[in-house]
């Protein structure tokens, strides 16, 4: 069996297992409402995770996604409050802002040759600072104003019980998976991550590919921000704070490797659902907050450790197999 398929089965299996654990120990887990809630909760992170999947497959990382959501959301709130722009314009501006942030990340990484980790760590500070530039103030005091625009608020709503954000997530994930697996660009994403030099020798402009991955991530952050403000109906300065780590955790649980070249959007979707199930299920136990966080932390550490151990094991097995074949042929060839 291909390693990819094996890894896929394992991540789906661990999702099923934690769902069973929560389902069997709590009456309120397997209810239609709760499942729909989980599918809503995973969607915002999931949309961002699609982009981060691209970045991590190119062997990169993006630490600025939460801050991009923050600055985009705050800018929208600001424009809605002070200028009462139409929903259409807001959607456009939001997506554009996210995309520009992604372009900046890509520019710093690809053109200025700054390592991804440092580059996006620094832009995170920049984007976070911009949040405060756009904050709504009254008499100099930061004020949290409700968003009144009905069309924007509609983004937080649902059709036939299913949240719009869930639908958007499914649609974007399908598109993302098709791009990754069925287009040249997708193949180049893998090639750029798994063996950049060799990809370049095959005539692939890996700079362009990596830059595009950052732009896609920014674009998706813009979309995620829209759904988030539509759902909450207001924007605080800590919008998106720490999201980047939940997103990265989801992507890694889904099977992407930091070394690049591995994983896909389907896996990251499973990872995002896993994170949402975990968050949701723990709440059902009525544990104190500290205990909830501890359980969540432990499960994530276990998943990540498992992933690393599993990858090392598979790597060893592949090498072992190759060596044994060599040994067999060595013996056979000289007999």
């Amino acid at each position: 069996m291909r390693q990819e398929n094996m890894r896929r089965i394992i991540s789906v299996a661990s999702l099923v297992i934690i769902m069973l654990i929560f389902g069997l120990t709590s009456d309120s887990f397997f209810t239609a409402d709760n499942i729909l809630n989980i599918l809503r909760d995973c969607a915002v992170y999931g949309i961002i995770a699609i982009g981060v999947t691209f970045v991590i497959i190119t062997a990169g990382i993006d630490l600025s996604t939460g801050a991009i959501v923050g600055v985009t959301g705050m800018l929208c709130a600001n424009l809605l409050y002070y200028y009462n722009l139409s929903a259409g314009l807001i959607v456009l501006i939001s997506i554009l802002t996210g995309t520009i942030c992604g372009m900046l990340n890509g520019f710093i990484v690809v053109k200025l040759r700054v390592p991804e980790f440092i580059a996006t760590l620094s832009t995170q500070y920049l984007f976070r600072s911009m949040v405060f530039v756009f904050t709504i103030r009254e008499m100099g005091v930061i004020t949290n104003k409700r968003i009144e625009n009905p069309a924007i608020l509609l983004l937080g709503g649902r059709i036939n019980g299913i949240y719009l954000v869930t639908m958007a997530f499914v649609l974007l994930a399908v598109i993302g998976q098709i791009i990754l697996k069925k287009t040249k660009f997708g193949t180049y994403i893998y090639a750029a991550g798994a063996n950049r030099k060799s990809a370049e020798l095959s005539g692939i402009n890996t700079d362009k590919v990596r830059w595009a991955a950052f732009i896609i991530t920014g674009f998706l952050c813009g979309i995620a921000a829209l759904f988030q403000i539509g759902r909450v109906g207001s924007v605080t300065t800590d919008l998106g704070n720490g999201w980047e780590f939940d997103v990265i955790a989801a992507v890694v649980i889904g099977g992407c490797a930091f070394s690049g070249g591995r994983g896909d959007v389907f896996g990251s979707t499973v990872g995002a659902i896993f994170m949402a199930v975990l968050q949701n299920g723990i709440l059902k136990y009525n544990l104190p907050t500290a205990a909830q966080l501890v359980v969540k932390g432990i499960v994530i550490v276990l998943m990540i450790v498992f992933d690393a151990v599993y990858n090392n094991m598979m790597q060893k097995r592949i090498q072992q197999k190759a060596r044994e074949e060599d040994a067999a042929e060595m013996a056979g060839g000289e007999a």
Partner: protein, 503 residues
Amino acid sequence: MSALLEMKGIVKRFNDTAVLRKVDFSVEAGEVHALMGENGAGKSTLIKILTGIYPKDGGEIFWNGQKVEINNRNDAFRLGISVIYQELSLIPTLTVMQNVMLGREETRAGIINAKTMRKRVKDLISKYGFGIKPDATVETLTIAQRQTVEILKALSEESKMIIMDEPTASLSTKESDALFKIVEQLRDDGVSVIYISHRLEEVYRLSDRLTVLRDGVREAVLTKEQIIPADVVRLMIGKELSESTASQNLRKSDAPVRLKVENLTRKGIFKNISFEVHEGEIIGVAGLVGAGRTEVMRCIYGADPYDSGKIEFEGEALPRRIVANIKKGFGFVPEDRRNQGFTPLLSIEKNVALTNYDTLASGGIVKAKKERKLGNEMVERLNIKPNNSQIPVGNLSGGNQQKAVLAKWLSRDLKILIIDEPTAGIDIGAKDEIYRILEELAANGTSVIMVSSDLQELLRVSQRIIVMRKGEIFTEFSDGRVTQEDILMAESGILTKEGQEHE
């Protein structure tokens, strides 16, 4: 037949050293042309000029009779020249098909047309009878299979010339045989193959013509009928060498045995390795790239595991931990100096200290004065230049870097030093100094195991020489006179086990 490729009067200099001195080289369409020469003869430089990696300092290149300029890899690629790299250049997590078609995917409405691509790759695979599946992930393939994927890639690009650089270095006998068939098939299809190898038997079997380079000069071009292995060896080595470096009287040591290796085997890498090293003895380990020399040394030192066999040090089983072995008096100078030998950003003093903190520190606190003193001592003793232990080792010349690596170990009470390619990339003056250091070390009772591909070096320094071939010890020269030709014939496969030449 007209020449597909003609290189005329190619000159290449590095700094002031001429590496290629007006070399002519021509390859006809549909021939297998072997390129031979000792390390440093200029083979790789010539190939790098042909593939646009190095610019040439003089000479002309003709392709199908037309003068061409090859300024980068793309120029070479456009002419139809492909290289099967020694370090394989595939994308491990993609499939065979994706790798073969990388950069030339077929799409319909932006979506990859996997069907037609798979068919193309499948057709190529069945045409050449390669035993691989288009949808296998490359990382699950053996080295030999990966090499086939590279050849597939070249074929799908409709290359007219495929360059293979030591293609059998990491292949088993059976895999090599399969590769030879492929090479013959390529030739029959009109593809030219430039075949670089040290293995004379392969070259003898495969090539239509053979060009021998020596010291940057074309020594001879032989046709198939003219290829006589012993002559080729003589052409590679040259005749005007002084007697002292061309041959050497070997001598067995009477001193007690310090290291005894018995039937050491690591599956698929080396097997049944047995030898002894005496006190104060320098033993040379000869063999071609891929013979398993470095692997055996890493294993003895404790860096890699083994599957069966025994290693005894002074009569006791050797621990499998590097730290314990260092305490016992082991030193290890690896082949890949820059990545494994030293820490480039740290000073000479700190690099030396790294192996000496058992005496230079107490309770985790470094005794800075002692550290400085030891650093200065070693700079003095090994004549490292510049004469300043505060300089980062990365800033030194190759020879002085190697001395700094030696300093890490010579600063300890050394019982056995394993040194892999001691003078690779080092200028002649520094080479002599390093030989002197090794000889002094042995005179003071340290045993030295020296892996080397440099025949002159092996003969000059070693008291006994072990020759490895394909993961096994092929023979040992332990007494009497031995010449460069003897070693070269033994390691490159002209001699059979009985010491006879192939017919």
